[in-house]
């Protein structure tokens, strides 16, 4: 389906299907804010539980667009050009594949999938359909753009090490050690549903997910983009250090990963959901880069403006990020990929690569062994 109207010399609007929006509505909101894209319908499988339909319906009502409990019917009736998938993580791949098979370009919330087999299925479907896929990411935050520009300018010479700290200062329910004798283990899905109110439900779904799986894609995408090479081997330590839900469901909330990359590059990742008390803002997110001519230290949050006032709610962030065009730039990148046929900033293949690093790190954390990353044979 051509995205440009050659008669009028203007690109035609792209019609977007919101294919489940139970997790992060900021993704379809970002897409809707782009002048080239119109949201036309929300859809999801009828078999989904009520809480899913409630969230989908609320979003549809907000935009005064229909909610259809049948994605294939929605695609047939509304003829969208693209789909935005922000479902439970274990459904990302299935929904995205169905959209791709139907010829839709796809924006997928992170992670690409919770299993490598599903990631491979996604990559194959996107390749066969010849559609574009964008895995949502933070690589176009102003600090990341500045980091990349600085590295590419040669200011620090040839890059040889890159380290990322990615701590979210969010709570995740009761603290570790709070379960009383006789209490049942915390149900993961129920906990995530409760967490939707404060936006800390990145792991929403039936299958429990540790912090490496939930958020690891963001810092690993930074490293991928800045280093430009693949990670081949990892050594990880993982722990449940903060939250009872993670203890009860045996998934990490704190992890450290040593990364060995192509070309002799090395690095590390420190990641955790460290609790709301442990940082005054959303968390400490920093990148340290070392090159043959020097080092570079980047605070992902900057630029910021500090706002403090009497009666300020304790949980309100006192530093507000400004000049952040990540959302617009990501959607613009996606639209340009559709228009021109080039690849997106973070496509399915790279998303699969990142999932493989996460999978290897989780295995390393459990076994205490150095683990080779299971990349696709063709990569």
């Amino acid at each position: 389906m051509s995205s440009t109207d050659e008669t009028q010399g203007a690109a035609r609007p792209l019609r977007a299907l919101v294919l489940s929006v139970v997790k992060h509505d900021y993704i379809p909101l970002a897409v809707a804010a782009h002048p080239r894209v119109d949201l036309v319908v929300v859809a999801d499988d009828a078999s989904q539980p009520n809480w899913v339909h409630e969230r989908n319906t609320e979003f549809a009502d907000r935009f005064d667009i229909p909610y259809v409990r049948d994605p294939e019917r929605a695609i047939a009736e509304f003829r969208p050009d693209l789909a935005i998938v922000s479902s439970q993580a274990e459904r990302h791949c299935d929904l995205a594949v169905r959209a791709a098979v139907a010829g839709l370009h796809v924006i997928v919330d992170k992670p690409l999938s919770t299993t490598l087999a599903q990631c491979d299925r996604m990559v194959d479907a996107v390749d066969r359909a010849g559609v574009k896929c964008l895995l949502w990411n933070r690589n176009l935050l102003p600090a990341l753009i500045q980091a990349r520009d600085t590295v590419e300018s040669g200011a620090i010479g040839e890059l040889y090490a890159i380290h990322c700290d990615f701590y979210f200062s969010k709570d995740a329910g009761p603290p570790r050690g709070s379960r009383q004798p006789g209490d049942p283990p915390i149900d993961w899905l129920q906990r995530q549903i409760e967490a939707h109110a404060d936006g800390s439900d990145g792991g929403v779904g039936e299958r429990p997910m540790g912090e490496l799986e939930i958020e690891g894609i963001y810092p690993l995408a930074y490293i991928r983009r800045l280093a430009g090479v693949q990670v081949r081997r990892v050594f990880a330590r993982t722990a449940t250090h903060f939250h009872q839900a993670n203890v009860d469901n045996e998934v990490d909330d704190l992890a450290t990963v040593t990364l060995e990359m192509d070309g002799g590059l090395v690095g590390s990742l420190a990641i955790g959901r460290i609790g709301a008390a442990s940082h005054p803002e959303i968390g400490e997110i920093k990148i340290h880069l070392l090159g043959s001519k020097g080092g570079l230290v980047i605070s992902e949050a900057r630029p910021e403006v500090g706002v403090y006032y009497r009666g300020q709610p304790p949980l309100e962030f006192k530093h507000q990020r400004v000049a952040n065009e990540n959302d617009y730039l990501l959607v613009e990148n996606f639209v340009q990929a559709i228009d021109s046929g080039c690849e997106t900033l973070l496509d399915a293949r790279t998303g699969r690569e990142i999932c493989a690093i996460v999978e290897a790190a989780v295995r390393s954390g459990k076994t205490g062994q150095i683990v080779d990353v299971d990349h696709r044979p063709s990569d």
């Binding site: 380290h163 200062s169 330590r237 450290t256 590390s268």
Partner: protein, 283 residues
């Protein structure tokens, strides 16, 4: 009054100790060991002589003294009921003390993750791993014991270390050389109920003198020396062991040996005991 003789090979640290003495009550300078109650020295022969002469000993560069010799010194002081303290000035840096105080006060809960970036002016031709004693010691200190797993990667003038501690604690440390100029140091400790960030990135001041802005690093001056000397003097007065003992230096040296092996072989080095120490490379 504790009379302190300063016998150091380098004038800069000697001057720092003289200035530190002036900042402390009931500590005075002694011109010679014979007139002193205590000696600070970086020479193990001088240290040995001082210990045999019933002097308290604060040993600078203790990590450069062979393990058996260190043990002999410590034993000589113990027999004479004298204080023996290996110098670990990094523990007394104001920024490190603030982190440690928060941990000791229970504000951080159980330590979970220690992250240190240490980028020095220049590592030069020296073995970069040997310079990592302070960071290894800090990790052992914060986690109340040596690690159980060690992995490391090394290249010219660069070393990164990954440590796993009992109860799930972990540390990542990287040490790199920078071009001549101001170095960089960042230490963060994430605990189960709080976190502390001692980070040069936050502490840099800006210099705008044409061209791109420059950053002025933080200055801690002789405060680490004052803190260390104060602890030494307090231990002497109270006739108690100092907060830094021979065991800490030896433990850090053991871990460093294992780090070097792990980096050389690109294998994990693992402790044969649940408490850490006695490392062997994975097969």
């Amino acid at each position: 009054m504790i009379r302190l003789a300063i016998v150091l090979s380098d004038s800069e640290p000697a001057d720092a100790y003289r200035s530190a003495v002036r900042r402390l009550r009931d500590v005075a300078l002694a011109d010679r060991i014979a007139e002193s109650d205590a000696v600070v020295t970086d020479d193990h022969e001088e240290a040995w002589n001082a210990a045999c002469a019933d002097r308290h000993v604060l040993l600078e560069s203790a990590e450069d003294t062979a393990g058996p010799r260190l043990a002999e010194l410590a034993e000589a002081c113990r027999k004479a009921s004298r204080c023996f303290m290996p110098a670990h000035p990094w523990r007394f840096r104001p920024s490190v003390r603030a982190v440690r105080d928060a941990l000791d006060a229970g504000k951080l809960g159980e330590p979970g993750l220690l992250r240190i970036h240490r980028w020095d002016r220049s590592a030069g031709a020296e073995d970069v791993s040997a310079q990592l004693i302070p960071e290894i010691d800090l990790a052992n200190w914060f986690f109340a014991g040596p690690p159980r797993e060690i992995y490391a990667l090394a290249r010219d003038d660069y070393l990164q270390v990954h440590l796993g501690f009992a109860d799930g604690g972990m540390a990542l440390i990287d040490h790199a050389a920078l071009p001549a100029g101001t170095g960089y140091y960042s230490l963060s400790l994430i605990g189960s109920t709080g976190a502390a960030y001692a980070d040069d990135h936050r502490d840099l001041q800006l210099l705008l003198a044409g061209g791109a802005p420059s950053a002025l690093g933080k200055v801690e001056g002789i405060l680490p020396v004052i803190g260390q000397l104060d602890e030494f003097a307090s231990a002497i007065r109270a006739a108690r062991p100092p907060s830094v003992t021979l065991e800490a230096t030896v433990a850090a040296l053991d871990v460093l040996d294992a780090v070097s092996s792990a980096a050389r072989e690109r294998r994990v080095s693992r402790s044969s005991t649940s408490a850490g120490g006695s490392y062997e490379l994975d097969g």
